[in-house]
């Protein structure tokens, strides 16, 4: 664009709101989910299920509400986050409905739809209450303590409950809540706030040894404390997934903040040390390694507790699905224990095949890409770190559980974000998406316009 003196020049087009694209993608996602419902019914008994309209329109109504809140309170937000999440959440609902039809205990599509509704309420509430995400920076240490408190909560007698060998639930009324899901959000905010304040010290002070910059001993403190804490969680609650999730996220955020490779090296070494130590001392960790290395052994397959039965059933399901899958409603998800929660990815893989799983992984990758894009576009360091950390924790979570189900890494119990049955995870992940939406709104909002041509006085839209 050439600007000549005296000639009025149209300003460079700025990021548009893309409302049309957002609505179109949202409707598309809902149509896919309804198609999936119909396909499940046709696959099972040749009829379109009665629930298709209830579930499909229910989900559609919820997402329309979420969209209206987003359009009102975060008009410049990224147009893709909500439709992408809608699709994954919807496919999860369909799979849970499908597993419910086989009569596997514990799977309930109605419950999951109710939790989705609560998730949308949390999403809207976060967007409405949190007008400026930088307010979170002031709560850095408060949220740090809240996060730690939530992690420790299940260990408190009377409140904490032990289910399936892991003590990560608390019972309130008739419900079971997994506080660690919310703790991880609070801790990511804490890490972001802490690292923004301490970044320079962590990045600049230190000695150079061989090819890596070694940090000072006292700067190692927070890393060692996080390491110790995640180990403690692992030991006391037998929750391998959450400790891996927390530690990995902290190391990556440290790396993003300081751009020093030495932190990653130190983190990996600490992690390997911790894992080997835990494997030596604790039977349940050792059992996971054993299963990971040799899942085919008949002895492990038949073992009652800590055996490879579930993992192998999942792998068989993926194998029978093949490239194109058996078709929705035509697999045997009942053969996999807990196929509606930890192993929903294996159950989906059987029915949609490699092609469908790759599409789902692409959708996750796009959600993460939009988050990282928000981090790049953000204008202040706290938002950059927070958006980067939140997107990473989502990606890392998908990697840990999908890697575990496919036996790429030792299996640790974690939910597949938005797909697995489970209220706490769904609520926490919807809040996570709300935070990303809030930050992408701030990042994509065009810079304020000046009143005069050259004036210093400017109008700011908040």
């Amino acid at each position: 664009m050439t600007a000549t003196p005296g000639v009025e020049v149209a300003p460079v087009p700025m990021t548009a709101k893309r409302r049309g694209a957002q609505l179109f993608m949202l409707a598309f996602a809902i149509v896919i989910v309804m198609g999936a419902y119909a396909s499940v019914g046709l696959g099972i008994n040749g009829q379109i299920p009665a629930g298709m309209l209830t579930y499909g329109l229910g989900l559609g109504g919820l997402m329309l509400a979420a969209y209206l809140v987003l359009a009102r309170f975060a008009p410049w937000a990224d147009p893709l986050l909500l439709p992408l999440v809608t699709l994954v959440n919807g496919i999860g609902l369909v799979m849970i409905y499908r597993i419910e039809q086989t009569g596997q205990g514990g799977a309930s599509a109605t419950n999951q739809l109710m939790w989705t509704a609560l998730g949308v309420v949390m999403f809207s509430a976060t967007l409405i209450v949190l007008k400026d995400h930088r307010a979170l920076q002031r709560l850095t240490y408060t949220l740090g303590f809240v996060g730690l408190g939530l992690l420790v909560l299940p260990l408190v007698p009377f409140i904490g409950k032990e289910i399936n060998g892991a003590r990560i639930w608390i019972g309130i009324g008739g419900f079971s809540i997994q506080p660690s899901e919310f703790a991880k959000l609070a801790l990511v905010v804490f890490f972001a706030g802490y690292l923004v304040a301490k970044r320079d010290v962590l990045a600049l002070a230190g000695r150079r040894l061989l090819f890596i910059d070694l940090p000072r001993a006292r700067d190692l403190g927070p890393v060692l404390i996080t390491w110790g804490f995640s180990l403690a969680v692992l030991i006391l609650q037998k929750d391998l997934g959450s400790s891996l999730l927390l530690f990995g996220t902290f190391i990556v955020m440290l790396y993003v903040a300081t751009q020093r490779t030495s932190w990653v090296l130190i983190g990996v070494l600490l992690f390997l040390g911790g894992a080997i130590l835990a494997g030596q001392i604790f039977d349940h960790v050792a059992a996971r390694f054993e299963v990971f290395l040799n899942p085919e052994s008949p002895e492990l397959y038949d073992r009652e507790l800590g055996g490879s039965y579930q993992l192998m059933q999942g792998l068989f399901a993926l194998g029978s699905g093949g490239i194109l899958g058996t078709g929705l409603g035509e697999g045997h998800p009942k053969e996999i224990p807990l196929s509606f929660s930890d192993f929903i990815f294996a159950a989906t893989g059987e029915e949609l095949g490699l092609t469908g799983l790759m599409a789902l992984l692409m959708v996750y990758a796009l959600i993460v890409e939009r988050g990282l894009r928000t981090a790049i576009a953000a204008r202040d360091p706290f938002s950059k770190l927070l958006a980067g950390g939140l997107s990473f924790i989502l990606a890392w979570q998908v990697f840990i559980i999908v890697g575990g189900v496919t036996n790429l890494i030792p299996l640790t119990g974690l939910v597949t974000p938005f797909m697995s049955a489970g209220g706490s995870a769904l609520l926490a992940n919807w809040i996570l998406i709300a935070l990303l939406v809030r930050m992408s709104d701030a990042a994509r909002r065009p810079p304020p316009q000046a009143i005069q041509d050259e004036g210093l006085t400017q109008v700011f839209q908040r």
């Binding site: 300003p11 460079v12 087009p13 896919i32 893709l80 970044r199 204008r379 202040d380 810079p447």
Partner: protein, 154 residues
């Protein structure tokens, strides 16, 4: 329900799933490079203006942060002046101990972008020299503010 119908439904569903992914990528593409039809309209009014203007190497369109903690940030240049500093209402907010709250300003004038130091404590540097008066910024020349380096790009 015959086997064939089910097979077709299955394939159609997978195709639609992938079509969703492709549509999403399409939205991202439009976001990054603008709509496919858009370049036609701004170009048309620009063409008659060309003979009037002297042949130039082209104007900067973006301000890119190439160094410092905000590295990678891109701000599209409009006709609006850009303020840089630690104040939260600045266009580019720095969290740098060496930057003042209202450190510097970039504004367009006669098709050029001018950098002006707003009385900062540690100064603004254009390439190697300190900015003492409003100075035009050539394309690709680094402007240093504390630890942050920015430059203008086409």
């Amino acid at each position: 329900m015959s086997e064939l119908t089910l097979l077709l439904i299955r394939l159609a569903f997978l195709a639609v799933l992938w079509f969703f992914v492709i549509a999403a990528v399409g939205v991202i593409r439009t976001d990054l490079f603008g709509p496919r039809t858009a370049p036609a309209s701004p170009r048309k009014p620009a063409k008659p203006a060309k003979p009037v203007s002297k042949p130039k190497r082209g104007e900067p369109r973006q301000m890119v942060v190439t160094g410092g903690p905000l590295q990678g940030t891109i701000i599209n240049l409009t006709e609006t002046p850009i303020t840089i500093g630690r104040a939260t209402d600045a266009t580019l907010v720095l969290s740098d101990d060496y930057a003042s709250s209202r450190h510097a300003r970039l504004f367009p004038q006669d098709g050029q972008w001018i950098v002006e130091d707003l009385g900062s404590t540690n100064g603004t540097y254009l390439d190697r020299s300190k900015v003492t008066r409003p100075t035009p910024v050539p394309l690709g020349t680094p402007i240093r503010i504390g630890k942050t380096v920015i430059e203008l790009r086409k």
